[in-house]
């Protein structure tokens, strides 16, 4: 794990830069030429996800003893950022797999669970999912109604989860699901690892989404789904913690996706503004246009620094809840703005599905919603500030 001095926090190390360059090259040559088609046909590109796994992208931040590279959270953020610069669907596939499926197993799993689920995940051999959100509510984690009851030495899970990433494609191997478990007269949440293919676990058809067309998002139905005791992840009754603790890291991932998307949008807008002429000059010469680009450049750099800083704190083992929330809040809103200004600068061409511009516009909006809405993040920050319970 790389250690970071206060000075290096503003500059990537040689290793981090080398990882970034490799992922950039991969994204530009293996993803960019097909991203438009996958978007149009809502195709989940399992082959490319597998290739990324072979490169080692899923294991960047996991320890070497569990199949990872041990390169740290900053390197992981850089990888996700580079993917999102080209294709947000691929970025979320990697980001969600690593931070909301792999990380809970690392933090709360038994040695056996880590060997069975984390090692192949880190090596890119399979994907995992985490199912907390339900049709009846996402932000309010504790309001979930999915239940797990004891029967014949097994847990029997019943309920429905909504908007779950990576659960039903050919690489999906397991889902971590939160469910109410009756203990001591109460019904706190517990988390269970359910392998794909378990009787009674039924991933539904993929949703038709506004964006992220090439990512895999489904409703999951649990219908008398039986799992053994070994399926319990973390302590009984502590499922909310199993979900919420890794979410801080997940937010760094979404912040990195936001920075990458915004960077990609800025590059598209800058290139177009230099090339497109109106009234006898490139539109970039117009103050109305180049001020927009200068503002975006500044905001993206600020978002990137917030993101790397949150990641550096995580890597150093320091508290980072507030920093991750702030990075995700700010970066996702910058991403939405960058995607919108990119489209505006492209004029009518920006509205036509022939370039990446509309795709970036559609892909941006989820960033202010997933893994904590902007509203919830403001609440998290306010609570860290001691302003509310």
């Amino acid at each position: 794990m790389s250690t970071m001095t206060s000075c290096q926090m503003f500059e990537l190390t040689d290793d981090q830069r080398a990882l970034r360059d490799t992922i950039r090259e991969f994204a530009e040559s293996e993803i960019a030429p097909h991203a438009g088609e996958w978007d149009e046909t809502h195709h989940f590109p399992a082959d490319v996800v597998r290739q990324l796994g072979e490169l080692g992208a899923m294991g960047v931040a996991f320890p070497e003893e569990y199949g990872g590279l041990g390169a740290g959270a900053v390197a992981m953020a850089v990888v996700v950022e580079e993917l999102a610069r080209i294709d947000s669907s691929i970025a979320v596939t990697v980001g969600a797999n690593v931070s909301i499926a792999g990380e809970p197993v690392l933090l709360f799993g038994t040695e056996e669970q880590k060997q069975r689920w984390l090692v192949p995940l880190a090596r890119g051999e399979h994907l995992g999912a985490f199912a907390s959100t339900e049709p009846g509510g996402g932000s309010d984690v504790r309001a979930s109604t999915t239940s797990a009851r004891r029967e014949d030495g097994c847990w029997v899970i019943n309920g429905t989860k909504a908007f779950i990433t990576n659960a039903g494609n050919e690489l999906s191997a397991f889902v971590i699901v939160t469910a109410r478990t009756p203990i001591d007269g109460g019904a706190p949440l517990s988390a269970f690892i359910v392998p794909n293919g378990t009787l009674g676990y039924e991933p539904q058809k993929p949703y038709r989404k506004l964006g992220w067309h090439a990512s895999d998002t489904r409703e999951l139905v649990f219908n008398d789904c039986r799992v053994p005791d070994e399926a319990l992840l973390g302590p009984l009754g502590k499922g909310a913690r199993v979900f919420l603790t890794p979410l801080d890291g997940g937010r760094i991932g979404v912040a990195a996706m936001s920075v990458g998307l915004a960077q990609g949008a800025l590059e598209q807008a800058t290139a177009y503004a230099k090339e497109r002429t109106a009234f006898g000059a490139p539109i970039a010469r117009q103050q109305a246009i180049h001020f927009k680009l200068a503002d975006l450049k500044t905001q993206i750099e600020a978002a990137r620094l917030l993101t790397y800083r949150a990641a550096a704190l995580k890597e150093a083992g320091k508290p980072f809840t507030e920093e991750a929330a702030a990075a995700k809040l700010f970066a996702s809103e910058v991403a939405v703005r960058a995607a919108e200004e990119n489209l505006q600068i492209h004029g009518g061409f920006g509205y036509i599905e022939e370039s990446a511009v509309p795709r970036f516009y559609r892909d941006a909006k989820i960033l202010t919603i997933g893994e904590g809405t902007s509203e919830i993040l403001r609440y998290v920050i306010a609570r860290q500030m001691g302003l509310t319970e």
Binding site: T22, L55, G56, A71
Partner: protein, 255 residues
């Protein structure tokens, strides 16, 4: 049976990033230094042979002091060690001088197989591989697109495409072969490979031959002027436009 390979690699500017300055017509290099594309096939082949038959892969590059990027890339892909032979200004050398410097270095090394790209992305002279073979007295097989190793021996079956067909050659090592596209699909270095690369040795040695004075003089490259000629028929109904076009084609005696 292990097969030890040495691969000649050249660091070149990323040709995809070269822009032509509109005012002067001169090329402006941008972006990073990359492995010359044919060399990537040579590196990949050496690594594949190592994986299949054992042995060591050494990459050797002639470049300016510190120009280690492409060696590091080859090490990240799976090569074992690198040698950077430095000259103050590599672009001041002609191809024969480059071959002489490399041959001198290679004389002190042992290997079964010497691989090079067919040519380099920047100058595309296609000289260095053949010249090195000649200077070392090695057989040369150029433009190779398939390599097979006979079982248990240092005997290779090589394939090359010619203008009117395909040649299949059998050679004993040591041999120098130059690689072209179609030989293989160069891998991306894995992220683990990248992190491991810096632990692998890169030896930097100053060239110990005096490069000969210029045998070739270069004039500054300038992009040819683009003259756009063409006639566009616009703003008239289709039938009239067609008539105009047919009239014009007849005028030019094209139909």
């Amino acid at each position: 049976m292990a097969l030890n390979s040495v691969v000649l690699v050249k660091q070149v500017p990323d040709m995809n990033a070269v822009k032509i300055d509109r005012a002067s017509g001169k090329p402006v290099m941008g972006g990073q230094n990359v492995v010359s594309s044919y060399d990537a096939y040579a590196i990949e082949e050496a690594i594949k042979l190592k994986e299949a038959h054992g042995g060591e892969v050494t990459v050797i590059s002639l470049g300016a002091p510190g120009a280690k990027d492409v060696i590091t890339r080859a090490l990240a892909m799976g090569a074992d060690r690198g040698v950077l032979v430095t000259v103050p200004d590599p672009n001041a050398l002609d191809t024969l001088a480059v071959a002489q410097v490399l041959a001198k270095q290679l004389q002190a090394m042992t290997f079964d197989l010497l691989l090079a790209g067919q040519g380099s992305d920047d100058y595309e002279d296609n000289h260095v591989g053949p010249q090195v073979a000649e200077l070392l007295g090695l057989p040369l097989v150029s433009n190779v697109n398939s390599v097979e190793v006979a079982e248990g021996g240092h005997h290779l079956t090589l394939q090359r495409d010619t203008e009117d067909g395909r040649q299949i050659l059998e050679v004993d090592t040591p041999v120098l072969l130059t690689a072209i596209s179609g030989l293989n699909e160069p891998r991306y270095p894995s992220l683990k490979g990248i992190m491991g690369a810096k632990k692998k040795p890169i030896e930097q040695v100053a060239a110990d031959v005096e490069p000969a004075a210029d045998r070739i003089t270069w004039s500054d490259p300038v992009a040819p002027e683009r003259t756009v000629t063409g006639t566009i028929v616009q703003g008239v109904p289709a039938a009239d436009a067609a008539k105009q076009l047919v009239g014009w084609l007849k005028e030019q005696k094209l139909i």
